[in-house]
Symmetry: C2
């Protein structure tokens, strides 16, 4: 099987919402026709002009839109245990990237896949492709190109999203007095990994939950739509709450040197799942603060927008509850302070020690 | 050293032509100001709104432009010998991607880098970064994001380019009677690889030339600007002339089922470097037809546009000659025929046997 056959067999999907099959190109005049119908070029949305099957993909952004793009690599044995199910790998490789788009307030549009495989294993490819496609369909993101090559199992995905001009959410906008929020529950993925490594003993239902959280993180693109009009800064938690919070503080301080910001975090407000509530509290807190692999959103809401934000949250019942835990999805965990560093409610310093690939 | 320090040390470059340092964002009103100055939003060109240092990059395409994007992975020991110089790896990883943009007739704009490293080796990183940056500056392409992780040495680069709406060059437009052209000379990279594997004995100056062609391929973005207004189909030669020509034929036949196209190639016209002219002719031809790793452009020119194309070539003295060989850069090697398959001037079939990663 050649690499061309491989792409044709496993990665040539119909993307009905995005138009265009791999060998078709939407004729240029279809764009003109759309514009004519709308009678306003401002209504033009993003389109795939040329999909997989050429040297590159050709894509058209809507008028008044900016491109938001991010790349993330998953290496077998580093980012996931070697015996991880291929469908979970497919899901996670896309999920961690969609999480970056969510953190930017961007709408998922297209992605490319660079897949390095030690061998052609049809069952593996079928399952991997299924896990990837299921999440891609859910997020409304289309695969528009890729590359397959032989070597140690490595998956690089580059996602591309769109955002209205000037509406992207950055890490650098946190301001004194802003409220600090997170989505979902924290530390579950880290607990799942610890249990896989036999460093943590969990009851079977909690074990299942934490490993699902590890292998099938939920990118918060729906929640992102809701918070993006109110948040002053946003990041996704991949390296651990404290480390990612320190990124927000550092970037905010860099971009506004006249204003010093730090954070006070109320540890008792950190959202913990039933699984983490069932273990030693100190250990649970360690997973939640520094475990990483959460892919939840961490964001700040200016005080004067909080009421409006919460009103908007309460009127959007579909994203109010976590689908797995039925818990409230947005939780306030602290406040941006005018002092450097991160402290708890008793003014004790909290030291960021997130995951470092090269430590 | 953390992955954040690593990116800051080696991949935070000033990109004067593209604006924006990593921690700056071009203020939204600067775009408005530009528009106001130009007094026409049509003059707005592509811009980096947010560079490395957030969850994703934010990019703005010019009005009436489409995004052209491609991803390619280089694995150590597969795409380059393990003892390849890091600066050469940096050059090649970007060059093969720029070659895809050139094949689409796209202007290089931005790229992201996913780098998987077995260890932190500062000398290696410094050299790799230098090789990458030198070519990036030459091509006018800016690094806007990336990811570093630990694992077997793997480099994935995704390039993004721009093209005026509807002006991208595809593989599928070849038509009966079109002339077949290539840039540069073919087979040099394959000869360089064979000499590295001690399967070919070359004189030292030829050895140096062929290994340079293998490790430092020249992406033909300047040549692409010249041919894009005339070509009916284009591809870059990465898998070998015959295999890539068969891609053009296959895609052209798929997109226009009423018209059958094949190709006649005049083997005596295949451009061979002095190095390849110095070895056995059959072996040289084998390298040129099926060796791969050329990163030259293969394109078709409709008969009625050939005179105009050649006139344009002759008036552009700066891309007329290959910088290494001083040879003419564009060479006609054959014609698109109305019969299936590829034949030589004596009607003998030529069988595409390009490089297949999984054969």
């Amino acid at each position: 099987m050649s690499e061309f056959d491989l792409i044709a067999s496993y990665f040539t999907w119909e993307s009905p919402n995005k138009g265009s099959s791999p060998h078709d190109s939407i004729q240029d005049n279809s764009i003109l026709e759309n514009s004519a119908q709308d009678n306003s070029s401002l209504n033009r949305t993003s389109q795939i002009i040329k999909n997989v099957g050429d040297d590159a993909a050709v894509l058209s952004l809507g008028v008044e839109q900016q491109l938001v793009t991010s790349i993330d690599t998953l290496v077998s044995g580093v980012h996931f245990p070697e015996d991880t199910k291929p469908a979970d790998i497919g899901h996670k490789a896309l999920a961690v990237n969609l999480s970056d788009l969510a953190a930017m307030g961007a709408k998922p549009e297209w992605f490319t896949l660079a897949l390095t495989l030690p061998e052609i294993n049809h069952k593996w490819l079928q399952e991997f492709s299924r896990g990837l496609k299921t999440l891609a369909d859910e997020a409304g993101i289309a695969l528009v190109g890729g590359d397959t090559t032989s070597g140690p199992l490595t998956i690089s995905i580059q996602v591309m999203g769109s955002v209205e001009n000037g509406k992207a959410l950055y890490r650098n906008g946190a301001n004194q007095g802003d409220k600090i929020y997170v989505t979902g529950t924290l530390g579950d993925g880290a607990a799942g990994l610890a249990s896989l490594k036999a460093k943590l003993d969990l009851k079977s239902d909690h074990l299942f939950f934490c490993q699902k959280r590890l292998n099938r993180p939920t990118p918060r693109f729906n929640e992102s739509y809701l918070l993006k009009d109110y948040a002053s800064a946003c990041i996704d938690i991949s390296d651990g709450l404290l480390q990612d919070l320190s990124h927000i503080l550092k970037q905010s301080n860099l971009s506004n040197p006249e204003l010093l910001v730090g954070a006070q975090v109320d540890l008792s407000s950190i959202p913990l799942s039933k699984a983490l509530q069932s273990i030693n509290y100190q250990q649970a807190l360690e997973f939640a603060l520094s475990g990483g692999d959460d892919y939840e959103l961490l964001f700040t809401i200016p005080q004067d927008k909080e009421t409006e934000f919460l009103k908007s949250v309460n009127s959007s019942s579909n994203v109010l509850k976590d689908s797995l835990t039925n818990d409230a999805i947005f939780k306030c965990i602290g406040t941006i302070t005018p002092e450097e560093g991160i402290i708890d409610s008793y003014n004790n310093p909290l030291n960021p020690k997130g995951f470092n690939h090269f430590s």
